[in-house]
Symmetry: C2
Subunit: 344 residues, 2 copies
């Protein structure tokens, strides 16, 4: 991928379009435009509060230099929105590579697959996998420190926290690796495993394989998925927790969020309850403990955020900060303190 248009047509709210937002955040240099005819003429900054002057366009004609179209949404259920079909066919006819993280594979879609074959273009389904290993808890290198980001809900910032802590560690000279477990993380990092699309019996195994494949690094920052408290996705979350056996965990949450994403009648737990349940479930396999909190303060003023971080820090006795607003320094220090404590 080099010259990317990201597609969010009609769905450019920041939570729905979280794949787009994070590609713009971490691969801005390769982005050419956002395609959403309902927001045409805006900039990325105006639409997503990130990305500066990256333009929002209405048709692919406006970005003739683009060679890849990336689907920028991650809907629960993972289906191709019907109105997007003509856009995808147009991109295919222009010879663009189409990259998708949806559960519905483009390459399994007869119409799209036939069009791609005719045009000689590639359909890349990031979630497609053939994981078939069961976890055995064998061969794990004890000296490699494993840290997992966890959440009290979906879409609270687990991927961003893992990336920012890994980068902070790298900048401080440590051999740290961000381990991607979801479609957006994989698009950003270039490797990883889409654990939420693995056949259920092999989820723990897929997570364990990620550890085995990356444990030559000193520190792994594993991207969390879902939440043990989310009605739809707790299965994936536990498989990841038990497959990667974290020594440390960083709790992520969005300040002000009251109900679970996609299920408004279900409330989200407190940070303290989140810590309690994850530590309890981790300890079934391996002692893991919460070493910090990544507060997503996107709805808070600076003073509100400072107050919220203080409150959480006092309550849990671990560092708390918003990695997008004040950097990941405190959490990097917390990870390094755990590393020293465990003699890893």
């Amino acid at each position: 991928m080099a010259r990317i248009v990201v597609l969010t047509e009609g769905r450019s709210d920041p939570l729905s379009a979280k794949t787009a937002v994070n590609l713009i955040r971490y691969r801005r240099d390769e982005m050419v435009a956002i395609l959403d005819s309902t927001s045409r003429g805006m900039t990325s900054q105006q639409l997503f509060a990130i990305g500066g002057d990256l333009p929002v366009i209405a048709t692919l004609e406006e970005a003739p230099e683009a060679d890849a179209l990336v689907i920028g949404i991650a809907p629960a259920g993972g289906k191709i929105p019907r109105p997007w079909r003509p856009i995808l066919l147009d991109a295919i006819q222009r010879g663009m590579t189409i990259v998708s993280g949806l559960h519905d594979f483009l390459s399994d879609d007869a119409e799209l697959a036939a069009a791609a074959q005719r045009a000689g273009t590639r359909l890349v389904d990031v979630r497609k996998n053939n994981e078939r290993a069961v976890a055995k808890q064998l061969g794990i290198r004890n000296e490699c420190l494993r840290v997992l980001t966890i959440g009290n809900d979906c879409s609270v910032g687990k991927m961003v926290a893992a990336i920012e802590i890994a980068r902070g560690l790298q900048e401080a000279g440590h051999d740290a690796k961000f381990v991607a477990t979801g479609q957006t993380g994989i698009m950003i990092e270039g490797d990883g495993c889409p654990v939420d699309c693995v056949v259920a019996d092999f989820v723990n195994g897929a997570a364990e394989r990620l550890v085995l494949a990356n444990q030559h690094h000193d520190i792994l920052l594993v991207e969390g998925q879902g939440s043990l408290f989310h009605p739809s996705f707790s299965s994936v979350t536990l498989g990841l927790l038990h497959g990667c056996l974290p020594d440390g965990m960083v709790v992520c949450y969005e300040a002000g969020r009251k109900t679970a994403r996609g299920v408004d009648h279900v409330s989200v737990p407190s940070v303290g309850e989140t810590k309690r349940i994850y530590e309890s479930m981790a300890s079934v396999m391996h002692p893991g403990r919460v070493v910090g909190v990544a507060v997503n303060g996107r709805h808070l003023s600076d003073s509100e955020l400072a107050r919220e971080c203080r409150r959480v820090r006092d309550q849990l006795q671990v560092p708390a900060c918003d990695v997008m607003r004040t950097g990941s320094g405190e959490l990097v220090d917390a990870v390094l303190a755990l590393k020293r404590e465990l003699g890893k």
Copy 2:
């Protein structure tokens, strides 16, 4: 299915061949023979301690009346054993329906699929599914009592306990339904969902759909899967727990089992610890409590079993019995007591 040969070739230990053993237990009238050339001439009773004079044969020629071949093993990983391929091809050429619960689908195997097409026979993959619903915790009928069998390990008797309690309730005149969640249970009951073969994001949803589809009954006995303590399969177990939201749970364990199935370096927890962790994780979504214990006493004498049941009963203050040895009566009463207590 009407005249069944069950295939366990070379793998007739009772744990590996648990699909075979339970088909013989619950569909004995339809069984014609067991196919295992390494045990030819034995009876089912001699081989599996069940099934009376059902013969063990070496080739399909010895059972010309058979019209279905059922794969009788359930290996972790779910692959077709290589040496079985000629047997499957022979069965196909004889026009037999092949029924498989393996993760590797027969119908996706080019050689087997081509042979079946030529012979005009059916390949039935019980685990094949296209589950794509996420759980929402909506539309659940509160008056329907949900009971889930749970375990401290795999292969301890969760399916048998659920079937026996459901049958006990039915015999006492109640509208109870066994809800199958695994390949063997589905073969026995004729419906259900293979939750361990669902794409990870939809496991909770598949379990919820089973509840929604069956909640016109008064009492559901849901077949548990795996264990929250099993390194390989805890993800599936939690998805089922959070998808079916049990009011009551029955703990299943095998007396004397010290280590987790397939991972000998991992020990299994006590019954008390099993109760504590499952109740904690259930309560994240819905209050559910352990109402009884199904002891699998296959390695115990009658007096040892009686002592073990007494010990567990004293410790947890709930009924404990071996449903295969002494019937499910005590557990049926415990389910009915919970139903009364909850006013369902």
